[in-house]
């Protein structure tokens, strides 16, 4: 059963990834990205990462893909992207380097057995508590400082987004901000 789910989702994930790269229309690319993100959530669920799978659906598959689609509709589908490469070496080189990268990563991941000391931070789940509680305990004890920094990072990102969107909108009419 696990193997069936894995292979079905693996094929869907690779098809989605290829669709993102090969899709001529950015909207199609975004929808293929959604396919890959949802199958990733299935993989997370299969590996006892319940909270991460839910966050993947809520944040990635919902918020980020909707943000992409929103920007695509805001800008209009960019039909002017030509698939003729101005630099004739770029595409073959990209594929060659991609193949090299794939071979390297697979050798690195598969040749060696998984080593390392288990449970540096804590075991994945104790029988008494679920995955959510275990992950929350790790986040709010061992990773508390990093967790606080993510809050700062998100605030900076929001402020940066507002500043970028606002300033460029004001540029054509100088001094309009002063009147308001």
């Amino acid at each position: 059963m696990e193997a069936v789910i894995f292979w079905a989702c693996a094929v869907a994930a690779v098809v989605g990834a290829l669709g993102v790269v090969l899709g001529r229309n950015p909207v199609h690319s975004a929808l293929f990205l959604l396919l890959t993100l949802v199958t990733m959530a299935v993989f997370f669920l299969m590996q006892d990462a319940d909270l991460v799978a839910i966050i993947q659906i809520v944040v990635y598959a919902s918020a980020i893909v909707v943000l992409f689609l929103f920007v695509i509709t805001l800008l209009g589908v960019d039909q002017r992207e030509t698939f003729e490469e101005p630099n004739r070496f770029q595409r073959p080189l990209a594929i060659v380097f991609g193949a090299l990268l794939l071979v390297q990563v697979i050798i690195l991941l598969v040749r060696e057995n998984i080593t390392g000391a288990p449970s540096q931070v804590g075991p994945l789940s104790e029988p008494a508590t679920g995955n959510v509680q275990t992950l929350a305990e790790a986040l709010f004890t061992d990773y508390l400082w990093a967790f606080e920094i993510t809050a700062v990072l998100l605030v900076i990102a929001v402020v940066g987004g507002v500043v970028l969107a606002r300033r460029s909108g004001h540029r054509p009419v100088a001094g309009r901000g002063a009147e308001q």
């Binding site: 193997a3 894995f6 693996a10 690779v14 990834a17 993102v20 790269v21 950015p26 690319s29 890959t36 993100l37 990733m40 993989f43 299969m46 590996q47 006892d48 990462a49 909270l51 966050i55 993947q56 944040v59 990635y60 980020i64 943000l67 992409f68 920007v71 695509i72 805001l74 800008l75 002017r80 992207e81 770029q90 080189l93 991609g98 193949a99 794939l102 990563v105 697979i106 991941l109 390392g116 288990p118 540096q120 931070v121 075991p123 994945l124 789940s125 275990t134 992950l135 790790a138 986040l139 061992d142 990072l153 900076i156 990102a157 940066g160 987004g161 507002v162 970028l164 460029s168 909108g169």
Partner: protein, 101 residues
């Protein structure tokens, strides 16, 4: 047939590579962004796989932070794309060639 961690790791490597090649090949900045998301997700899958294999909750905690960074990156990146579009009316990577050194 048993699904070992190696299957997940190879799948993550394949998706990471597809994302990387797409980033190099495509010229539409929005699609390039989506390829970056693919690469981040492949890395997340590797983290979750190792968390399971080593029985360590730390791997999943890192994925949580990666998701936060990805969300922040998308928010700022899309704002930059919108800002470029307002000036240039186009968002392919060749349109920002003024950034070349």
């Amino acid at each position: 047939m048993d699904i070992t961690p190696a299957y997940y790791l190879v799948l993550a490597a394949i998706i990471f590579t597809i994302g990387g090649v797409g980033l190099l090949v495509r010229r539409n900045t929005l699609v390039m962004f989506m390829c970056i998301e693919l690469m981040l997700n492949a890395a997340n899958l590797t983290f979750v796989t190792y968390a399971k294999a080593l029985d360590d909750i730390g791997g999943q905690a890192i994925v949580f932070f990666t998701l936060v960074v990805a969300a922040a990156e998308v928010a700022v990146g899309l704002a930059i794309i919108v800002a470029i579009f307002r000036r240039r009316q186009n968002v392919t990577a060749d349109d920002v060639n003024i950034l070349e050194g």
